[in-house]
């Protein structure tokens, strides 16, 4: 068992970095510093452009690279095997993986292979004495739970990077030593065959700067037009709570929440949304939250910066008018 914490990524992400990399490196760096662990970054597959720069910025000691051609695109069995072989060779104490869609499958599978414990939905990490403690989200975001690593020497941790902030250190930059890690993927055959790839064109809710979201308080599908109108006026995207999506008022790609999209807009306006934590997990990272609800005790007002108590059906069109300068 080595004394290392390894951030592990494999996707290309956007803008030159894998999704959640900086946030996860922030967590890892702080843990490495406080627990006296070596901080490494394992990048499997082709390395996005900014990896060397960011690795240096966060004080990564070893930038470990697995460059097998089978890793060019994500394939679960291949990915798990490559990471498992790395863990076999390097025996990291902690493996931190940004909790992307694919990571949710890879992380526990890797833990099983590596004889490690696994904790997902992690928001905080600490090593106290010799005990690894992970604070994770539970009950749809309603509670926090602390897990301790008690029955294994190492742990794989899925980090809820979408809900964390990246915090690059001042100074402390390093010149990471690149290590080429060779793996043997000859025997791996993907057991799940992709017949039709997911295909998404158009703006992504996760990247929207302005989101106007509607909940069941809007009453019926046709009222959702008010959300669309305001979103358009603000140059943003319309979104919804889970029950709205389940009722078919809007496509599931616009669902905000723990099992939907976790968003980080500059402005999040929620109308007719009660504010259940399942939903709020999807937007608490917004810079400014505005809530409109008939019920002055609605939970969403506890999260909001500005609130209007009233009928969304009356207020939304007025906001749209005011935005348009009418």
């Amino acid at each position: 068992m080595s004394n290392s914490v390894v951030v592990c990524t494999w996707d290309q992400g956007r803008e030159g970095l894998p999704a959640g990399a900086e946030e996860t490196l922030t967590l890892a760096r702080n843990l490495a510093a406080s627990a006296g662990l070596e901080l490494n970054w394992l990048v499997a597959g082709p390395a996005p452009d900014r990896v060397p720069e960011i690795a240096g910025k966060y004080g990564v000691v070893h930038l470990d690279r697995i460059e097998d051609s089978k890793l060019a695109d994500f394939q679960p069995d291949v990915c798990v095997e490559a990471l498992a072989q790395y863990c076999e060779e390097h025996a990291p104490k902690l493996v931190l993986i940004p909790q992307t869609f694919d990571a949710r499958l890879v992380a526990p599978r890797l833990a099983a292979r590596a004889g490690a414990g696994v904790v997902m939905n992690a928001l905080e990490l600490a090593v106290e004495g010799r005990t690894v403690k992970v604070t994770a989200s539970a009950y749809g975001g309603d509670t926090r739970v602390v897990y301790e690593l008690t029955g294994a020497e190492s742990c794989v941790v899925g980090v809820l990077a979408d809900m964390l902030l990246a915090d690059a250190p001042q100074g402390g930059a390093s010149e990471p030593a690149v290590r080429q890690v060779s793996v043997d993927l000859g025997a791996v055959e993907e057991r799940v065959r992709v017949i039709q790839k997911a295909h998404f064109e158009g703006p992504r809710l996760e990247e929207a700067q302005v989101i106007v979201a509607g909940g069941m308080g809007l009453g019926e599908k046709k009222n959702f037009q008010l959300i669309e109108d305001l979103a358009q006026a603000l140059g943003g995207m319309a979104a919804a709570s889970r029950p709205v999506v389940e009722n078919g008022w809007i496509d599931s790609s616009r669902q905000v929440g723990l099992t939907g999209k976790i968003t980080r807009p500059v402005l999040y306006l929620g109308a007719g949304i009660a504010g259940a934590s399942q939903h709020m997990v999807g937007c608490t990272a917004a810079k400014t939250i505005v809530a409109i609800n008939k019920d002055p005790d609605a939970a969403i007002f506890k999260y909001a910066r500005y609130g209007i108590v009233g009928d969304a059906m009356e207020i939304l069109p007025e906001i749209t008018k005011a935005v348009k300068g009418a």
């Binding site: 994770a136 790839k197 997911a198 108590v309």
Partner: protein, 268 residues
């Protein structure tokens, strides 16, 4: 075909949410257990959808035996509901879920599947709405050496041993195929589970789930001991300071808001 569904009994997450919203969720002296007796226990919603998945396969003509298993001290009522929905066999592994982690849970469930002589499909909800960890199905796949396909909104048999699954990904639907045996997790987009008739529910009340003790199962390396332990659970206080914007009319309040957002450069 043998289909096994793993069902977890959880505290009603909506009830938990309601208590949290009014700041009254009770956590016991052990610092982690939710102790409100007024919160009902029910079957994890996604697991109920997993049962529905098996039933739809059967309705579609797949000749199958449907087993539902649960790790819990007493999930009898919940398993009777599974029978009423249409499950053939139900079993309890009498273990307090507060004493096990995902790894131990998966070990016991894998042991159960092996005790049946294997399964063609193992169906699970995508996550349990109490812990949200979503690790058991993936661990099961590793222990049973089965491929795992997660977050399914539709499942159909293409032929006797090939399954076609539509997955809900952040980039839209993905369609995959996998050969049985396989583990599949079901997401809420799958659709509402059927509600059994009163007649079926009454009949199911006579069913006693088979008791399967951990000792009777072969648990693999490590004997199914937990690797992580939950030591604490708490509610993080939400410290918000909402400024309520008023007006004589909806229009006035709205204009007030827009002005504020412009002044603070939140919008143009």
């Amino acid at each position: 075909m043998k289909i096994v569904i793993c069902a977890k009994q959880v505290l009603d997450p909506d009830a938990v949410d309601n208590y949290v919203l009014v700041g009254k969720l009770e956590i016991g002296d052990d610092g982690k257990t939710l102790t409100q007796k007024s919160i009902p226990r029910l079957m994890n919603g996604y697991d109920e959808q997993a049962i529905e998945c098996a039933l739809r396969l059967r309705d579609g003509g797949v000749d199958c035996k449907i087993h539902v298993v649960s790790l819990a001290t007493d999930p009898t009522k919940m398993l009777q509901h599974a029978v009423a929905m249409g499950a053939d066999e139900v079993a309890t592994i009498p273990v307090d879920t507060g004493t096990v982690d995902g790894y131990a849970t998966a070990s016991l469930l894998a042991g159960f599947v092996k005790s049946l002589g294997g399964a063609d499909l193992v169906l699970c909800g995508r996550q349990a709405s109490d812990g949200d960890q979503a690790v058991v199905p993936a661990l099961l796949g590793e222990m049973l050496e089965m491929p795992v396909v997660t977050i399914a909104r539709a499942v159909e048999m293409v032929d006797g041993s090939t399954v076609r699954i539509t997955r809900v990904t952040p980039d839209g639907d993905e369609i995959v195929e996998v050969s049985c045996p396989a583990v599949i997790t079901i997401s809420n987009e799958f659709g509402a589970p059927r509600y059994p008739t009163g007649m079926r529910t009454m009949k199911a009340r006579k069913v006693k789930p088979q008791q399967v003790t951990p000792d009777s199962l072969s648990l693999g390396e490590g004997g199914g001991q937990p690797r992580v332990t939950m030591t604490r659970q708490f509610v993080e206080p939400i410290t918000g300071s909402c400024e309520f914007l008023q007006g004589d009319s909806p229009a006035a309040a709205a204009q007030n808001l827009v002005k504020r957002l412009r002044d603070e450069r939140v919008i143009e």
